[in-house]
C-alpha cells in the first residue's frame, strides 16, 4: 500500500506510462481507504501470460465485501482478463499460464486440487451480451439448482421468484414464466441473466461490460439493479464506460497495459486521483 500524493509523483505521467510500456516495474498506488475495507476477494501477486505475451503483471487487489468495484482502463489493459481469471474461465485457453493466487473468502482459487466447477458456483458471471439459455424464463433461473439435483418444486418456485424479484424482473415476467427467455427484450434478458446468476447465492457477482449491448433505459435499470444488489452481494464489474464506473461503483481500479495503476474509492478516483496517469485517463487525455 502506498500513499503517494499526486504532486510528489517523481516522474511525469508520460514518462511513467512509457516506463510501463517498456515493461519496467510499476508499483500500484492503493489508497488507504481501500486497505481498511474487509476484502471478500483478494488478488495476490497475480501474473498471467497468453503464450509468450504477458497480459497481467503482479496484480494485487482487494475487493471489498458487499460493495461495487469497477475495473476501468483502455482496451487491452487486462481488465477483462483479470475478471475472467477470478472464475478461471481463462483456464479454458490452453496457452494461458498464471502465477500468484486469488482468494475468495480466504480460500485459494488457484491452489492445486481446487474443484473449478464448485468454485464457479460461488460466483455469478454476467457477460457483455445477454446469454439466456434457449429454454423458459423459469428454467433459466433455476438452471443451476437443477444441475445440482434440486427437484423440490416448492424450493425451485421460491428461488425463481426471489431471484427474479432480486433482479427487478419479477413484475414484468411473473405471468409468463413458462415462455421462452428468448422472447424477452435485450435489457430483460440481461436482468434474467442476473437473476440466474444470483439464484445460487454467489459470493461474488462478476460483470463483464454488462450494459454495453443495451440502450440507455435498459442500462439505467441494470445500474439501479447493481445499486440494489450491493450490500447483499459483492460486485466486480468491468466497464469501458468511465461514467458508468463513476455513477455505479464504490471503488475503482484503473488498469493500464496489464498493470493495476491506481485503486481507491470511486469518489476519490474521479475527483482527486493520486496519480497523473489516472487523471489523464479519466479526463480523456489518453486511452
Amino acid at each position: 500500500m502506498n500513499d503517494i500524493p499526486a504532486t510528489s509523483a517523481a516522474a511525469p505521467a508520460a514518462d511513467r506510462l512509457a516506463a510501463i510500456a517498456r515493461g519496467e516495474t510499476f508499483e500500484t498506488v492503493t489508497h488507504a481507504s481501500v486497505a481498511r475495507e474487509d476484502a471478500i476477494l483478494e488478488v495476490v501477486d497475480f501474473r498471467l501470460h497468453y503464450g509468450a505475451k504477458q497480459a497481467l503483471f503482479d496484480i494485487n487487489l482487494r475487493v471489498p465485501r458487499g460493495r461495487v468495484t469497477a475495473l476501468i482502463g483502455p482496451s487491452g489493459c487486462g481488465k477483462s482478463t483479470l475478471l475472467r481469471s477470478v472464475n478461471r474461465i481463462n483456464d479454458l485457453l490452453s496457452a494461458v499460464r498464471i502465477s500468484g493466487d486469488m482468494r475468495l473468502n480466504g480460500d485459494s482459487i488457484y491452489a492445486p486440487g481446487v474443484d473449478v466447477i464448485e468454485l464457479r458456483k460461488r460466483m455469478g458471471m454476467v457477460f457483455q451480451k445477454p446469454n439466456p439459455f434457449p429454454m423458459s424464463i423459469y428454467e433459466n433461473v433455476v438452471y443451476s439448482l437443477r444441475i445440482d439435483g434440486e427437484r423440490n418444486a416448492g424450493v425451485l418456485d421460491e428461488v425463481c421468484e426471489r431471484s427474479l424479484r432480486g433482479a427487478a424482473l419479477w413484475d414484468e415476467v411473473k405471468d409468463r414464466l413458462q415462455e421462452s427467455a428468448l422472447g424477452l427484450s435485450g435489457g430483460q434478458q440481461q436482468r434474467l441473466c442476473i437473476a440466474r446468476a444470483i439464484a445460487s447465492e454467489p459470493e461474488v457477482l462478476l460483470m463483464d461490460e454488462p450494459c454495453s449491448a443495451l440502450d440507455p433505459i435498459a442500462t439505467n435499470k441494470i445500474e439501479d439493479l447493481m445499486d440494489r444488489l450491493s450490500g447483499d452481494y459483492t460486485i466486480l464489474i468491468v466497464t469501458h464506460n468511465m461514467q458508468q464506473a463513476a455513477r455505479t461503483s464504490d471503488f475503482t481500479a484503473f488498469m493500464y497495459l496489464g498493470r493495476l495503476v491506481e485503486y481507491g474509492r470511486t469518489e476519490d478516483m474521479f475527483r482527486k486521483p493520486e496519480l497523473r496517469e489516472t487523471e489523464d485517463y479519466i479526463t480523456g487525455r489518453f486511452g
Binding site: 445500474e223 445499486d227 458508468q244 463513476a246 455513477r247 455505479t248 470511486t266 469518489e267 474521479f270 475527483r271
Partner: protein
C-alpha cells in the same frame, strides 16, 4: 444514469444543505437578539458557532463536487447542483454577517445603547423574513416566493437609505454617542447585505427552475 444512487446522493446533499441554511438563519437571529438584549454571552456563542457554519459549507461543496464528478447531472439537476454551490457561498457569507453583528454586540457591551431608529428594526425584520422566504423557495423550488424575496430587496434598500440618514443626524446631534451610533451604522449595512444575499439565493432559485440567468434582468424576471 444510475438513478437510485444519484437520488440517494442528492437527498444527502439536500439534507446537508438545508441544515446549513437553518444553522445560518439561526445564527443571524441569535446575533440580532444578542444586540437587542445586550447579551455578550449570546454574541460569543454566535462567534464560536461560525466554525460549524464553515465546516458545513465545505461539506456541502464537497458533496456537490462529488455529485458532479460521479453522476454528470444535466438539465434541472445540473442547475440545482450549481445553484446550491453558489448559494452555499452566500450562506457562508451570511454566517460571517452573523459574526459581524455579534462583534458589534461585544464591542458595545459597556456602552449605553441609544434608542434605535425605527427603520433598523424594520430592516432587520424584513431582511430575516426575506432569508426565511429564500429558504422556502429553495425547498419548494417556488418561483413566486423567490420573486417575493427579490422585490423585498427594493424595500430594504429604501429603508436603509432612511436609516442611514437618521443615524447621521443623530451623530450630529449627539456626538457623545458616536461609538454606539457607528455600531448601528455598521448594523444597517450588514442587514442590507443579508437582504442582498437572500436576493441572490432567490435569483439562483429562479435560475434552477426557469433555466435562465436572471441577474441584471430585473425588468424581465422580477415580477414574473
Amino acid at each position: 444514469m444510475a438513478l437510485l444512487h444519484f437520488n440517494r446522493d442528492l437527498e444527502n446533499l439536500k439534507k446537508q444543505f438545508l441544515s446549513l441554511f437553518a444553522l445560518v438563519e439561526d445564527n443571524l437571529r441569535k446575533a440580532m437578539r444578542s444586540l437587542e438584549e445586550r447579551n455578550d454571552e449570546l454574541a460569543r456563542e454566535v462567534i464560536r458557532g461560525d466554525k460549524s457554519v464553515d465546516g458545513a459549507e465545505v461539506g456541502v461543496e464537497e458533496e456537490c463536487l462529488k455529485i458532479l464528478a460521479l453522476h454528470q447531472p444535466v438539465g434541472q439537476d445540473l442547475r440545482y447542483i450549481t445553484a446550491i454551490l453558489k448559494i452555499n457561498r452566500n450562506l457562508e457569507r451570511l454566517g460571517d454577517q452573523a459574526v459581524a453583528i455579534a462583534r458589534i454586540t461585544h464591542a458595545l457591551r459597556a456602552q449605553p445603547m441609544p434608542e434605535w431608529p425605527p427603520e433598523i428594526g424594520e430592516i432587520a425584520e424584513k431582511a430575516l423574513r426575506m432569508l426565511q422566504l429564500a429558504f422556502e423557495s429553495i425547498i419548494h423550488l417556488d418561483t413566486a416566493i423567490a420573486r417575493q424575496v427579490w422585490t423585498g430587496d427594493d424595500e430594504v434598500d429604501e429603508l436603509t437609505e432612511r436609516a442611514l440618514l437618521t443615524l447621521r443626524s443623530e451623530m450630529r446631534a449627539h456626538p457623545e454617542r458616536l461609538d454606539a451610533l457607528l455600531g448601528l451604522n455598521s448594523l444597517v449595512y450588514i442587514l442590507e447585505r443579508v437582504a442582498d444575499h437572500a436576493t441572490n439565493i432567490a435569483k439562483d432559485v429562479l435560475y434552477t427552475v426557469l433555466g435562465e440567468i436572471v441577474r441584471h434582468r430585473g425588468k424581465e424576471f422580477k415580477r414574473g
